[in-house]
């Protein structure tokens, strides 16, 4: 990691990419990401507010998912990927060599576009994380974590009679809520969601959005979505990316009623080209 003195947002970003220091859960300063020669993220500085939903929006290839994956070092697994700049979680540099990446990813969990339950039972899907992280004390403790996580993910009522059925036997929406239950079972502080509803029907989508509303009381959520209406519905802050740059960030209400930047307006209103 390279460290830079300046905490200022780059000249290109308009709006309010920063929140008050006390409210910032994650802070990215001057982050650049390279895939080999390709400069995928350009000097992005952005705060993620505590117990808030932050939506990252932008056209395909704008770098929103790449940026999100920097927040729990998911990019580490890509050999040619190089990240510079600083990202802190509660003030702690997550790219510090002393950081245990497995532990970091337990604190900053992730839910993917396509529901990806393990080929195991519903119970085991949720129990897996707490077990390997040693979070449960005994069988009863583990069971409690599983049931609580399923309940918080709004899935318990639907699956309580078939906890030992395969996770893959659930519907798409249920599978996604199972993945959310799996993510929250290890008590993360932040949940990253990469297009969590793009494979779901409108009813399953509404249930996930309702869940996001509830989860934000206990977790900090970052969501990447192609559905601008979804960003408008679920988030408090919205960040708009374009060609690897953070163009604008601000309160979702302001972004959707009166965006400051021409590009944001063009993208939101469907005048992009």
């Amino acid at each position: 990691m390279t460290y830079r003195a300046s905490n200022d947002p780059p000249h290109g970003t308009v709006g309010a990419p920063r929140v008050e220091a006390a409210r910032a859960k994650l802070t990215a300063c001057n982050v650049d990401v390279f895939y080999g020669e390709k400069h995928a993220i350009k000097d992005v500085s952005l705060d993620i507010g505590r117990n808030e939903v932050t939506a990252l929006i932008g056209p395909s290839g704008c770098g929103k998912s790449t940026f999100m994956r920097c927040l729990n070092r998911m990019n580490d697994i890509i050999d040619i990927c190089r990240v510079t700049g600083t990202i802190t979680l509660d003030g702690e540099d997550i790219y510090d060599p002393k950081i245990d990446v497995v532990h970091l990813r337990a604190r900053v969990g992730m839910v993917f576009q396509k529901p990806n339950p393990f080929p195991k039972s519903i119970f085991e899907n949720v129990a897996y994380g707490p077990r390997i992280h040693g979070l449960a004390s005994g069988k009863a403790g583990l069971e409690e974590i599983v049931l609580t996580s399923l309940k918080r993910a709004g899935l318990l009522e639907e699956v309580k009679d078939r906890l030992h059925a395969p996770g893959t036997s659930l519907s798409g929406g249920q599978q996604q809520r199972l993945c959310i239950a799996r993510a929250i079972a290890v008590s993360p502080q932040v949940i990253l969601m990469d297009e969590p509803c793009s494979a779901l029907d409108p009813i399953a989508t509404a249930r996930i959005e309702e869940l996001i509303d509830e989860l934000q009381h206990n977790f900090t959520i970052v969501i990447v979505t192609h559905s601008m209406q979804q960003a408008a519905r679920v988030s408090q802050r919205t960040a708009f990316f374009h060609l690897g740059e953070l163009i604008e960030c601000g309160m979702t209400e302001q972004i959707f009623t009166n965006p400051l930047h021409r590009l944001t307006q063009g993208y939101l209103t469907g005048r992009f080209g």
Binding site: Q229, T257, N258, Q265, T269
Partner: protein, 235 residues
Amino acid sequence: MAHDKDTAHTVKSYDEELALLVNTIALMGTLAETQLANAVQAMLQRDSDLANQVVAEDVKIDELEQDVHKRVVRLLALRQPVAIDLRHIVIGLKVSSDLERIADYATNLAKRSIVLNQFPLVNPVTGIVRMSRLAQELIRDVISAYIERDRDRAITTWRRDEEVDEMYISLFRELVTYMMEDPRNITACTHLMFMAKNIERIGDHVTNIAESIHFLIEGTPLRGRRSKGEMHPSP
């Protein structure tokens, strides 16, 4: 067309629907201005037929307002507009309501001019004509500002409502003087007083439209106060 200033939408039919909305509102503006002009002309020429025509034409503007409302509801439901498109569509509701009210005032002027024709002509009618010409000019300006999305023109029009207010105050005094001079003038002058008030209210609706245009362009309300005349009675 208003949208030429922006990059076009990727979905062309969206632009076409927005253009239809603007055109309908522009047509309402033109009709409302014509109605006002004809109502005052009917008074000046003592032409009750023209006045009756104004009364009959009002329904066209009411229908156009309904048309705008339908288009707005459709656009909101089907396009889920945001940012400037959202503001554009939402102010369509307000601007069309303001124009419909302006046309109502013009109808009221026409009805009073029919009554006035039963009385001898009194001098202050020229004051009504002057006031109406200014109001017509402001309607034209504000509609141009709406079509062109011209913020500066909207603000200029907004400020010029002050001139209408001043004319109203001056005409009010003139009418009171006439009534004091000869009580036989009281009925005609009272009608003229209401007509002056109607035109003054038309000016207020023009300022509402100017404020909507400002909100459309800037996304913020038009702040600041226009200086009001020393007297603002509401008879």
